[in-house]
């Protein structure tokens, strides 16, 4: 029962028997099916939506478009403002929706809706020479767009060794297995939702903003979620369509985006371009770090991926410059995907560090040890536990790194070339305030409620453990997945479990005190405490991050260029985990997504059509079972156990950060080919 004991998931039985109910699966009487229609031009104006053919089917109830949809108010991004104007900002943007009594009729009707446009020129290419690039003041998560310390240009000019390269990552789609799914109903001015999201309170807030009603008037139920990875943090355009359809028809409406629609009616990760220049003295001391980043947002909303943010804190240098530039393209507004900024940025930084190690003739592990900072390089703040060196050294020991011959392309058996590589990982500590309620019943049971959500992280189980541990009993029922439990954190920024857990711990501790005041006896009406952690947050006096190190072994087919990851070993310092079992699965899952990103993932844009060409799972490849072997995740114990309200630091995103660079560095060691553009495709390996 002790927190961290590795209890198996409370909902495990429900998930293996099919009893676990996801948003789309609630039986609702008189429900209608909604199928959105996406724009077929990348930029333009809708001149006509002709629903005649669709409406000829008696099973079709309505065709919704900008001429008959109710007005929405600005909320989190402009993409959610569906059917508010005839303007088309990108291909696939919802321009209409068909509502019908059966799913088949809704889908058929959507195919029959005729939309006419005046087409405008579009731009979808991420071009560093684009004259209209913006220089944003701040990025996502509140980092400065530009930060400068010292004189980077002078330091680069004086450096003994400089590496100067461009690294790119393509657009990537989160692609949770469960697509955006929602059942929406209106009860007067109350909106009732069964919704797949990463935070029922955030969903209530987001939908409330759109409809001009307080979050308390939006009732969100989110019992189980089939993955999110950032795509369901805020209401998506697709989900909003269902609430509009319900308003127009006055009936409950259900919608599940098709896999194809997920590519434009739900968010993605931007493409990134990192120009990195590292300067060092002959002895390996780094003297300059220059990270110039480029990313895109849509033409209707500014979202700036914090691609350079990890560079602020990784390695010591007296001269440090980080810039973010932004292209505005006719593409959906990108938003967060697992470890936003850190994942693409650290691919660049950790690849460049490997290149610098080779340029200096130094072991890449040694280069990192020699540039370990004593305080946060950009801010000068002290670290609240920095264990990168521990992770690197423990990992090197477990992996057998020290016996490595650094010579590239020197290990061949038959058709296979073998190589190894390493990379560092980091992720910031976030924690959000929120409420939780603990209640004691006269029959000896306890009920603990918090508007948390378990998107697969194991949050439900960890929160039960936390409550049971503080209350000192097992007779605890944990209630999550409802906005009615009050203001609460997202499952985002790896902050969910720490944030909810902090509120649960506080409520349970206060209830325990209250029980003691009653001599341990629970009155007939029970005892109840609602705690709020809004005032208990982390002060900005320290640099707080989780750390990790990846060690990768690959084999590369000398003829075809096929890369196989034989082994990926990660060592992580995240402090106390509430549940070691589910924490371990989170770390492994991040590493799998890192391998996937390294070898497969890319959303391909057709520049002529402004189209995400490979918009399904047959063409947007993610790691399959056969891609994954030799995976190991180890957690350092007794490090940073007193940072958040529940002790440790975030876990969910750490495993992906740096892992793609470890793969790319291993591919270089195997083949002598440096792939600086993800994914590491056969043709890129063979190009040299």
């Amino acid at each position: 029962m002790t927190a961290g004991s590795g209890l198996s998931r409370l909902e495990g039985r429900d998930k293996v028997t099919g009893a676990a109910r996801y948003a789309y699966e609630y039986p609702v009487e008189d429900v209608l099916y909604v199928c959105p229609v996406g724009a077929t031009v990348a930029s333009g104006t809708v001149t006509e939506v002709d629903g005649t053919a669709a409406l000829a089917d008696p099973e079709v109830v309505a065709v919704v478009d900008h001429t008959n949809a109710p007005r929405l108010l600005p909320a989190v991004t402009a993409d959610e403002l569906v059917f508010q104007s005839p303007s088309v900002a990108y291909r696939g943007q919802p321009v209409a929706a068909v509502v019908a009594t059966t799913l088949e009729a809704a889908q058929e009707g959507a195919a029959q809706v005729l939309v006419r446009y005046v087409e405008h020129p579009h731009r979808v290419a991420l071009d560093p020479d684009d004259p209209d690039l913006e220089q944003p003041e701040t990025t996502n998560a509140g980092f400065p767009g530009t930060s400068v310390k010292g004189d980077v240009d002078a330091a680069l000019a004086d450096a003994d060794v400089v590496v100067d390269h461009v690294y790119t990552t393509p657009p990537q789609h989160n692609n949770p297995m469960e697509t955006v799914a929602i059942i929406a109903r209106w009860d007067g001015d109350r909106l009732l939702l069964h919704d797949s999201n990463q935070g029922p309170w955030a969903a209530a807030t987001g939908f409330g903003m759109l409809w001009g009603i307080p979050p308390e008037q939006v009732s969100v139920v989110t019992e189980h979620v089939g993955g999110g990875f950032g795509s369901k943090v805020w209401p998506t355009a697709g989900a909003v369509v269902a609430s509009v359809a319900a308003r127009v028809t006055g009936r409950p409406c259900k919608l599940m985006l098709t896999r194809q629609q997920m590519f434009t009616m739900a968010p993605a990760r931007t493409a990134t371009r990192s120009h990195l220049r590292l300067g060092a003295r002959r002895d390996g001391t780094m003297t300059a770090i220059d990270h110039d980043t480029l990313q895109y947002s849509s033409v209707i909303h500014e979202f700036v991926e914090q691609t350079g943010s990890a560079t602020r804190t990784m390695y010591a240098s007296d001269n440090l410059r980080i810039r973010h530039r932004l292209a505005r393209l006719n593409l959906p507004t990108p938003r967060v995907m697992r470890a936003p900024g850190k994942t693409p940025g650290m691919f660049a930084v950790e690849s460049a560090m490997d290149e610098l190690a080779y340029a200096l003739g130094l072991d890449p592990l040694e280069l990192r040890l020699r540039n370990e900072p004593s305080t946060d390089p950009a801010s000068g703040l002290p670290f609240d536990g920095r264990h990168l060196v521990d992770c690197l050294q423990v990992g090197a020991d477990k992996f057998g790194w020290t016996a490595r011959d650094p010579t590239p392309a020197a290990r061949r058996r038959g058709r296979w070339l073998f190589g190894t590589g390493l990379a560092s990982a980091m992720y910031p500590v976030y924690q959000q305030g929120g409420k939780a309620t603990a209640r004691a019943e006269p029959d000896g049971t306890f009920h603990v409620s918090v508007a948390a959500v378990d998107i697969g992280t194991g949050a439900r189980t960890a929160l039960w453990q936390e409550a049971a541990s503080v209350l000192g009993v097992r007779s605890v029922v944990i209630h999550i997945g409802r906005s009615a439990y009050g203001r609460s954190s997202l499952a985002g920024g790896s902050a969910g479990t720490a944030s909810w857990g902090g509120a649960v711990r506080k409520a349970c501790a206060e209830l325990r005190r209250l029980l003691a005041e009653h001599g341990g006896a629970v009155p007939r009406d029970g005892l109840e405490v609602t705690a709020d952690t809004a005032a208990d947050q982390l002060p900005p006096d320290k640099a707080r991050h989780s750390y990790g190190a990846h060690f990768c072994a690959v084999r590369v087919d000398a003829d075809t260029g096929q890369v196989r990851v034989d082994r990926l070993l990660g060592v992580f310092a995240h402090g106390h985990a509430l549940n070691a079992r589910t924490a371990h699965s989170q770390l492994l899952g991040g590493m799998v997504m890192g391998v996937s990103m390294a070898l497969h993932e890319q959303t391909v844009i057709d520049p002529r059509l402004g189209l995400f060409v490979n918009h399904d799972l047959a063409q947007y490849h993610i790691a399959t079972h056969a891609d994954i072997r030799g995976l190991e995740a180890h957690s350092l114990e007794r490090a940073d156990d007193d940072v958040t309200l529940v002790g440790g630091k975030g876990i969910g995103e750490l495993g992906i950060v740096g892992s793609a660079a470890a793969v790319a560095n291993a591919v270089f060691h195997a083949t002598g080919v440096r792939v600086r553009d993800l994914p590491i495709t056969l043709e890129r390996v063979r190009a040299a």
């Binding site: 028997t17 099919g18 996801y22 699966e25 059966t102 088949e104 297995m177 996937s596 079972h625």
Partner: protein, 172 residues
């Protein structure tokens, strides 16, 4: 939709005959989820690309999103709801829990049905892409399991737990 495009279909699911009036275009997946309220079978792509909708049809694994419901008439359909024996979980269901072979759980019903079908295929001597000797019963090593389970995508990346779970059951 006119009446002649609808019809009664008898589906035998988990050992029980169920009569359901369906649009002839309905897939087996949508019939299960929307009409029979058997929502354990999941829709992940609706195009046979992800495996989340895997069920057993006459004991063989099949993507229920690629089967029209009318074509399943007269066949024995087993969904995840039919794997357990009453309250007694199927050994694979127990092993998936024990090895944390899932996170969000959305691909899990498909993984389970696929694993049941896969083990039967191996017992029948059906080779895979990685089988070295096509003349004997395949040796179900880890690479065989990984290859044979690669039609079932897991975005959470629970493959290590899934492998361990299937390994345990296959080894008895």
């Amino acid at each position: 939709m006119t009446d002649q495009l609808r019809g009664d279909v008898v589906l035998r699911v988990n050992g029980e005959d169920r009569v359901v009036n369906l649009d002839n275009r309905s897939t087996l997946l949508d019939a299960l989820r929307e009409h029979l309220r058997l929502t354990g079978t999941k829709k992940g792509c609706d195009h046979g690309q992800c495996g989340a909708c895997t069920v057993l049809v006459d004991g063989e694994r099949a993507n229920s999103c690629l089967l029209l419901a009318v074509a399943a008439e007269g066949r024995e359909v087993t969904t995840v709801e039919g794997l357990a024996d009453g309250d007694e979980l199927h050994p694979l269901q127990r092993a998936f829990i024990a090895h944390d072979g899932f996170q969000c759980g959305y691909c899990t019903p498909g993984q389970l049905c696929s694993a049941v079908g896969m083990l039967a295929e191996v017992a029948d001597g059906v080779p895979s892409w990685v089988t070295a000797d096509l003349t004997t019963t395949p040796d179900l090593d880890d690479d065989e399991i990984r290859e044979r389970m690669s039609g079932n995508l897991c975005r959470c990346g629970a493959y290590a737990g899934i492998l361990a779970a299937i390994r345990e059951v296959a080894d008895g």
